[in-house]
């Protein structure tokens, strides 16, 4: 038996209704055993899911035959190096850059925005797209909102764009769209993912129906789950059940926030401002339709059109040597765990991150460094 870590994890759940937690853990064990084979891998694509799994010690309650891996669910981490470079080059040209906090320390080819700031560039951390608008109103200088994040965050960008931007504000969109990357991961032969746990709040926007074509194409179930420990456990029980019964479908286990059609008003604004186009996600691959870019109607506020962004100016700076050994790409593709990386906790720490996964509060490495990732279950199961 797993022993004390498991008991401790279950006792941590006590404030969340211990009877239900225990019943769900037992159901998850039974369902996994009923599969009659091991290991079975399922993937979630959300930094907040990983935070909850790690924080509440859920992995120590998972059956040994069930592998719950984090896929490309950290929007900061999958922002590609050339996208960071664009921000860095603009910053070095003297443009004010406003961006979400974690982006500042994410490495580009040779520099992060924080490095540019140390050289004197004007970098502003914001928490909301609205704050980029306020910043632009407070100055006559050019301001670029380096806009990152998945669909939940992109709708906020869309809303401020549709509200009308000050003339000195433009958008550098590195927004990403989750459903297409699930296709990529599902098709990676090495990954062997048999089902997905989808993020509740992103699905609040897109609705559960957005996953139906994926399920039809790949024959893999998708369960939408919330962020409570019990939400995650219940979602996994349902997911393993669907794998066991070979009945791939979309199941919404987060009905208190998610509907089948989603938030239509938000979707309308999202697609009015953005179009999906192919592009690289850091460490993953080229993802068809995975990037959100401004539509042609918004060319006048597109930083890529307003400014000449000369990335070659960065090429004479040598990339940091340690970055060569970083395995963030494999971690985000679900092929490796943070602890597989020889830099993890050694040369790469939250204080001195080498890779993007150690920078962001939603990155697998930072989360595992903070909470411990895979608890030692003690002895042989």
């Amino acid at each position: 038996m797993p022993g004390t870590d498991r008991d401790q994890a279950l006792s941590e759940l006590k404030f969340r209704d211990p009877v239900r937690a225990r019943a769900l853990v037992e159901a998850l064990g039974r369902r996994t055993a009923e599969l009659g084979r091991a290991p079975v891998s399922v993937m979630h694509v959300c930094g907040s899911h990983e935070q909850a799994i790690a924080k509440f010690g859920l992995r120590s309650t998972f059956p040994r035959g069930l592998n719950v891996i984090m896929g490309p669910g950290c929007p900061v981490c999958i922002t590609d190096t050339p996208e960071v470079d664009e921000g860095v080059v603009l910053a070095r040209q003297g443009v004010h850059i406003a961006t979400y906090g974690d982006m500042v320390r994410v490495p580009g080819t040779s520099l992060s925005l924080a490095d540019a700031q140390a050289e004197g560039a004007k970098i502003h951390v914001i928490y909301s797209a609205g704050q980029a608008v306020e910043l632009a109103r407070s100055t006559s200088d050019q301001v670029v909102f380096f806009a990152t994040g998945f669909e939940t965050t992109a709708v906020a960008t869309a809303a401020v764009v549709l509200g009308g931007l000050p003339p000195n504000l433009s958008i550098l969109s590195a927004h990403k769209y989750i459903p297409p990357v699930m296709e990529i991961v599902a098709e990676m032969p090495e990954t062997k993912v048999e089902g997905f746990l989808a993020a509740g709040h992103a699905a609040t926007i897109t609705g559960s129906a957005v996953f139906e074509p994926f399920v039809a194409r790949h024959g893999l179930p998708v369960v939408i789950a919330g962020f409570e420990p019990l939400d995650i456990l219940a979602g996994l029980v349902k997911l393993v059940e669907l794998i066991r019964d070979r009945t791939p479908q979309v199941v919404n286990m987060f009905p208190r926030c998610v509907t089948r059609e989603g938030n239509l008003r938000a979707q309308e604004q999202l697609w009015k401002v953005f179009r999906s186009t192919g592009g690289r996600w850091r460490g993953i691959a080229h993802v068809p339709n995975g990037n959100l870019r401004l539509r042609d109607e918004f060319a006048s506020i597109d930083a890529r059109r307003r400014f000449t962004i000369d990335l070659a100016s960065l090429w004479d700076c040598a990339p940091p040597a340690l970055a060569q050994s970083c395995i963030c790409g494999n971690i985000m593709a679900g092929l490796s765990s943070p602890t597989d990386c020889k830099l993890f906790g050694q040369e790469c720490t939250p204080e001195k991150p080498v890779g993007a996964c150690m920078v962001s509060s939603e990155g697998a490495c930072k989360i595992w460094h903070q909470y411990g990732g895979h608890p030692d279950l003690g002895g042989d199961a």
């Binding site: 924080k55 929007p75 906090g101 609205g130 409570e228 208190r256 938030n263 604004q269």
Partner: protein, 98 residues
């Protein structure tokens, strides 16, 4: 940036709501919320924008996780920090006087 945060609507003025998050009052944009909101409703706030009006019957369950996170004493807890950042994403209530 995955985690939205629920709060209670105190007042609505056009496109902006004053929302109470555990005693902290903030302005939240209503541009993309799925349904009209009124004082007393709960909304899910993400980066300064309400993305969902939470049905009344589901408010209790929705709040539970956050209450635990907000109560969390440790400053370095990642989830609690994300929740604090989400609340910071909204503007101060201009009439709060602090």
């Amino acid at each position: 940036m995955c985690l939205g945060v629920p709060g209670k609507v105190i007042e609505v003025a056009g496109n902006v709501a004053i929302v109470d998050f555990w005693g902290v009052r903030r302005q939240v944009q209503l541009d993309v919320v799925d349904e009209p909101v009124a004082p007393g409703d709960y909304i899910l706030n993400h980066v300064g924008f309400a993305i969902r009006r939470i049905p009344e019957s589901e408010i209790g369950e929705t709040l539970a996780l956050y209450e635990q996170l907000i109560a969390q004493a440790e400053q370095d807890d990642l989830m609690a920090e994300d929740v604090r950042n989400e609340i910071a994403a909204s503007r101060d209530d201009p009439r709060a006087g602090n």
